[in-house]
């Protein structure tokens, strides 16, 4: 799909970063506000899909040389891995823990292992959605 739409391209270049930032923000705020792994992942993947729509697959692939299947696999591994991690520390499978920390710049921050789990979820979502869309569109 080769389009030559200058306006769309220019806008996309900016918008993609806004979407990406929004996605990361959603992902990070998930524990306390609306958001989380799924939504963050979906928003991130929509940014990628937009990129693929506007530029063609090869160009984007040069810029983002990831194999999204591997990202999805890594996500699943991370999600399961945090569960196994809990077992290693002697708790039940998938037990999450959290701690309030005082960091120099951020002030009082809460660190929770669930973030790792959610990151796994988000990565899987990104990987799978992009893989699905790419597989279909490449198969013409």
């Amino acid at each position: 799909m080769k389009t030559n739409d200058v306006i769309l391209r220019t806008v996309t270049k900016i918008v993609v970063f806004i979407i990406l930032t929004f996605g990361v923000e959603l992902f990070l705020s998930g524990h306390n506000n609306p958001g989380g792994g799924f939504i963050g992942g979906l928003v991130l993947s929509s940014a990628f899909v937009l990129l693929y729509l506007v530029f063609d697959v090869e160009t984007v692939h040069k810029g983002i040389p990831f194999d999204f299947k591997k990202i999805a696999a890594f996500g699943v591994l991370l999600a399961v891995g945090t569960g196994v991690g809990a077992v290693i520390f002697g708790s039940s499978f998938l037990t999450q823990t959290f701690r309030e920390l005082h960091l120099p710049v951020f002030g009082n921050t809460e660190l929770a292992t669930v973030v790792l789990f959610e990151a796994g979820v988000a990565l899987t979502v990104v990987g799978v959605v992009v893989t699905i869309i790419l597989s279909i569109s490449e198969d013409v």
Partner: protein, 802 residues
């Protein structure tokens, strides 16, 4: 603890085999495998002194304690004998297999199966918990299946494997039912505890059923009549396997079961008669059929059946002692059990040796058909000697161990005549006669093995290869067994003291330490009936062998041709036909039909259930107020939904679906669910674009060609399902039977440090769901990718038949 490890070491080794096999892809891998049973054998040997002084070892690992299922191992005299047989014969068989199998075979698979079998067999004999025992029991069937089908490109191997699996597993399932009944009766799965408490339950109706079902399991596994038909077909397995599984160990699992359950069921007339009669008849039938075989391995298979019958019948006779309790008179009946255990060991030694001999002949000459063999004595002297020792021992001749146990067999069966219980009467006289006739036939086929193979005229023209002695490595294993055959004859009481006496105490717990439970085994008894019977066997047997060709005609008369095999085959074919008819009756291949089944079932059960229980109760008092906007959205959605049905173009339909999706997102906002609203909007967008992307490749939808009645049926079903769902949902809302558990999640901040309750549920409280959901998503992704990328290739040629 050690015993638990003993069970698991073979399994662990089996896991390692593929890795070793990658490094050592030739038959030297067998030497690694050999270490496993050898080490286990030595470990078990070290337990002998303690066990023979009456100690038992119990070790429990909790598994599912709430269901009474624990991984309990129990080592006593009985399991000791079997444990030694499994590891000892196992070592020899592996040693033998190193030379028997060529490097071209998939040795990795072979040893994995073999170790799997060894582990599960050890599991069967050491498990005290019935459920665990059952699991291992079926595992032995499965590994036996895999081993019989080792040469899976041969049709006969597959047939034999399937047959053995079908028969043994159905027996196993029956046994399983029996175990459950025992559990219902006694409330425990532990064999030892059942033995202690079973006395209170013998009058229960379930007791008899449990007994019969357990016996079915034992009979199928030990190839007793009429379930023996799988054993000859199992001979398609490589000879080491036949020697190991189908003569020395697996088929003895049934015997083990009978011995183990003698304290539970023994003393009952039904047990006595069924075990004894089935055993004796199997003994007779097996030996009769063995005589007419021309394939040496088939002959050995029938002889195994017959010998198993012998051991089985002895256990049956021995169980009578439990009926009367301990007394100076009743203890004499325990001699039958003693003979059974003794013969069990002897049989493993001589039959193992004979199988290996046949394997050598097959391996070196390329045939095991006795019509083509003959005159091998001078060409294969060592093989001949081993065969001679094995066969003469089986025939019950001195100076081999078979003589001793055969004598004891005759003695106990003669003793049984004086049995005062169970109205022996005529049976008492019939048993010795059948046993004697069977022994004569046994003598005949033993002679066939030795003389038809090794004496007579050598026929090089009918052999594929030149006859010569087998390699030393192959001869070593049967030589060791043959050595034991002779050694046990001269020193039987060592076996009696260290192995048999603790086993007797395990079979007869009430008789523990009683006088006369463990007799002295002597070669010379004086001219008792047993000796006279043996002499008769030799004389008549020799005569019958010499005039074999004159009476062989009886095998062609009509009743002899009825075979259980053809019955089994017919049954199998009929079952296949029946089930395929039944399946094709409702599996029409139309998605619509399947969905109709599901929906009709739904309507009938749920709707019917609501009607029958009068479960309607609508309570709308708790409803939240509705604003005018919400009315509008609801009616838009209803309209959009119904409009989809009448959409002329797929674009319209998909857009209407989008309307539904976005309206739901609005509702999520209204219902205070911001996470859902966000997710719904994005998912709806992605889904719609996916639809559009796929439409690029799919044809425009045409007008439905279904007939009007079909459409009407669809409509009625659809409306009924919708109604049932609505009514059900409304009724559920009317009844709040339980208070909501959601209050718990409102402590999310303290419990997980998160303030978004929905996300704490997803990530903390119910993370397992989320994890699996991620996995599902990933699977869907892989599915899509493979569907698109991997086009169906041509299938490779099927490996079928020889």
């Amino acid at each position: 603890m050690t015993i638990t490890l003993v069970i698991f070491i073979p399994f662990l080794a089996a896991i390692l085999v593929p890795f070793i096999y990658k490094r050592v892809p030739n038959r030297n891998i067998g030497w690694f495998i050999l270490c496993v049973p050898l080490a286990l054998f030595i470990v078990l040997l070290r337990f002998i002194p303690a066990v023979s002084s009456g100690e038992t070892y119990i070790h429990t690992i909790p598994w599912i304690p709430s269901a009474g299922i624990n991984f309990t191992t129990h080592l006593d005299g009985l399991s000791m004998i079997f444990g030694l047989l499994i590891t000892g014969v196992g070592s020899l068989v592996i040693l033998y297999s190193i030379y028997y199998l060529s490097a071209r075979e998939s040795l990795g698979n072979f040893y994995v199966y073999l170790l799997m079998f060894m582990g599960s067999m050890l599991g069967v004999i050491f498990s005290d918990n019935l459920m665990v025992l059952y699991v291992f029991w079926e595992l032995t069937s499965i590994s036996s299946f895999l081993l019989i089908a080792f040469w899976y490109h041969r049709k006969k191997s597959r047939y034999g494997a399937q047959k053995s699996l079908l028969i043994t597993v159905s027996g196993g399932v029956a046994m399983f039912a029996g175990f459950i009944m025992l559990h219902i009766l006694t409330g425990t799965f532990s064999v030892q505890e059942i033995i202690k408490s079973i006395g209170d339950y013998t009058d229960s109706g379930l007791f008899l059923f449990a007994m019969i079902l357990v016996l079915l399991g034992a009979f199928t596994k030990s190839a007793q009549f009429p379930f023996h038909i799988w054993l000859p077909d199992a001979m398609e397995a490589p000879t080491p396997v036949s020697a190991y599984l189908h003569s020395a160990t697996m088929v003895k699992a049934g015997i083990y079961l009978v011995a183990r359950f003698t304290p539970v069921f023994g003393g009952e007339a039904v047990w006595f008669y069924s075990v004894t009669c089935v055993g004796i008849f199997t003994l007779f039938w097996g030996s009769l059929n063995a005589v007419r075989q021309t394939d040496l391995k088939a002959l050995l298979a029938y002889s195994t059946i017959s010998q198993l019958g012998l051991i089985m019948s002895l256990f049956g006779l021995g169980s009578a002692a439990l009926n009367e309790g301990y007394s100076a008179d009743s203890v004499i009946y325990t001699q039958a059990t003693f003979a059974a255990l003794f013969h069990l060991i002897n049989h493993s030694t001589f039959k193992g040796a004979l199988f290996m001999v046949v394997g050598i002949i097959d391996h070196e000459l390329g045939t095991r058909d006795i019509r083509r063999l003959g005159g091998l004595m001078s060409l294969m002297p060592v093989t001949f000697t081993i065969a001679l020792i094995g066969s003469f021992s089986m025939a019950g001749l001195p100076p081999f161990n078979g003589f001793l146990s055969k004598e004891m067999f005759f003695e106990s069966i003669v003793n049984a005549r004086s049995l005062g219980i169970f109205e022996m009467g005529t049976w008492g006289n019939l048993f010795p006669i059948i046993a004697w006739v069977a022994s004569v036939l046994t003598f005949v086929y033993c002679m066939i093995i030795v003389f038809k193979t090794f004496l007579g005229e050598h026929q090089p023209a009918r052999l594929d290869r030149k006859a010569h002695e087998g390699p030393r490595g192959m001869l070593l294993a049967p030589m060791i067994l043959a050595f034991f055959v002779v050694a046990i004859f001269f020193f039987p009481n060592i076996v009696g003291k260290y192995l048999l006496s603790p086993a007797m105490e395990a079979v007869y717990p009430p008789f523990k330490g009683a006088q006369g439970l463990v007799p002295q085994i002597t070669v010379w008894h004086g001219f008792k009936p047993a000796l006279l019977m043996t002499i008769g066997v030799i004389v008549v047997g020799a005569l019958l062998y010499v005039f074999l060709r004159f009476w062989k005609g009886i095998f062609t008369i009509e009743p002899m041709r009825w075979s259980l095999d053809s019955l089994y085959n017919k049954f199998l074919v009929q079952t296949e036909k029946g089930s395929s008819y039944l399946t094709s009756f409702y599996m029409t291949g139309y998605l619509r039909d399947y969905l109709l089944y599901i929906f009709t079932f739904f309507i009938i059960t749920i709707g019917g259930g609501l009607l029958l229980t009068n479960g309607f109760s609508f309570d709308m008092s708790g409803d939240a107020p509705i604003t005018i906007n919400e009315y509008i959205i609801v009616f838009v959605m209803m309209g959009a939904g119904i409009a989809i049905l009448f959409a002329k173009s797929r674009i319209t339909a998909i857009l209407l679906n989008g309307v539904l999706g976005y309206s739901i997102a609005i509702f999520f906002v209204v219902f205070r669910a911001p996470d859902l609203a966000l997710t719904q909007i994005i998912v709806e967008t992605v889904t719609t674009s996916l639809f559009l992307l796929c439409f690029h490749f799919l044809p425009e939808w045409k007008k439905e060609k279904s007939s009007l009645p079909a459409k009407a049926v669809n409509g009625i079903i659809a409306i009924l399902v919708g109604t049932v769902v609505t009514v059900l949902a409304l009724s559920v809302q009317g009844h709040k039977l339980f208070t909501s558990i959601s209050i718990y999640f409102e402590d999310a901040d303290e419990l997980t440090g998160g303030k978004n309750i929905v996300n704490t549920i997803l990530g903390d409280f119910r993370a397992f769901d989320t994890m699996l959901e991620v996995v599902v998503l990933f699977i869907a992704g892989i599915g899509v990718y493979t569907l698109v990328k991997l086009k169906a290739g041509m299938e490779g040629p099927d490996v079928e038949d020889e």
